[in-house]
């Protein structure tokens, strides 16, 4: 075999073997990965809608909304994802909303890369709990109706702004006081 042919043969053989191995591992792990992602999503939805046991996904006006229901099939609230631009990257937030009462039912920070010890404290219940039961008609302005974190101004403001701006769209789809 001439040396160039040999090079090609070896490279192709190694690539093929690698490809086969990867295809196999992908087949093994993919269903598990999907399941994990779904589970994480459901967990987040259940967390922001108290009392919800099941969820259904609906697509409306370009937004993906998750409707949470309890075991009897009573609708408990709507959850949706929104993204704010924090101090050092995007902040992903899951927001729970109850149109009938016109109030938020809770929020959960899904992912963020804020400064540990400062901005990262938006993840703590001390910060997120204040949104529980907050009227969607509020201003969502830090230091006015949103408690802030000592030493961090940008991260809480980013969360508040993201929630407020996405609520504008959501309340159009499910107006306050209306059914859902």
């Amino acid at each position: 075999m001439n040396q160039y042919t040999r090079m090609i043969v070896v490279l192709v053989a190694i690539s093929l073997a690698a490809g086969a191995l990867l295809a196999f591992s992908y087949e093994v792990t993919n269903p598990k990965i999907q399941e994990q992602a779904q589970q994480a999503l459901e967990q987040a939805v259940m967390k922001v809608i108290p009392g919800a046991e099941k969820m259904t996904t609906v697509e409306k006006e370009g937004m993906t909304l998750y409707i949470g229901t309890d075991n009897q099939g009573n609708k408990k609230g709507i959850a949706f994802k929104t993204t704010g631009s924090g101090f050092s990257g995007p902040i992903e937030i899951m927001v729970g909303y109850n149109p009938k009462e016109g109030k938020l039912t809770g929020i959960e920070i899904l992912s963020m890369s804020e400064t540990p010890g400062l901005g990262a404290r938006i993840k703590e219940p001390a910060f997120t709990d204040q949104f529980k039961g907050k009227s969607v008609k509020d201003d969502f302005i830090p230091k006015k109706d949103v408690k802030v974190i000592t030493g961090a101004t940008i991260s809480p403001a980013a969360v508040s702004k993201a929630i407020k701006s996405s609520l504008a769209t959501v309340t159009k789809i499910y107006p306050v006081g209306g059914d859902f």
Binding site: I14, A18, T29, G117
Partner: protein, 201 residues
Amino acid sequence: MVKDFVNGLWGENPIFRAVIGICSALAVTTAGQNGIAMGLALTFVLTCSSILVSILKNIIPSKVRIPCYIIVIATFTTIVDLFMKAYFPALYQVMGIFIPLIVVNCIVLWRAEGFASKMSLIRSIADALGMGLGYAWAITLISIVREILGSGTLFGIHIMGANFTHWVIMLLPPGAFLVMGILVGIMNMITRKPVKNTHCH
């Protein structure tokens, strides 16, 4: 063989002695379990790659050896990546991009090119395990220091009491450099004889 194993653990420790592959070592070492997970992931990739490289060393033409090594390393890295995503999603969320980055971790290519491609299978395995575990204990040590000072916890368990003030810098990149620098200094102090009176004028 034992010598090859110990070499990676101490003598040529990738983090504290060779100071190689420190990108991931500095980035993920904010909590003890991250250090262990990253260390084991790298040990797996390194050992599997070294085995294959050592077996294939006479088949691979020298002109295309680097692409071959990279394919081998990339394959094992992707496998780790997929399995971690499937079975340890919480860890995967923290480590994120640093698992795929094992592909370009210089320790792996360094040992493949510098050792496994020239040595017997047994010696290659011993070397890969030594290097991998050497990396693992080094970054776990860095993680533990950073976790205790930065979060007041050890492997997630609160050990510093409720009134502990978190050293925020330890969770930030400068903290990683400081801790690593100080540990390298301590290692040198242990192994080297003190130099006496060498001031120059």
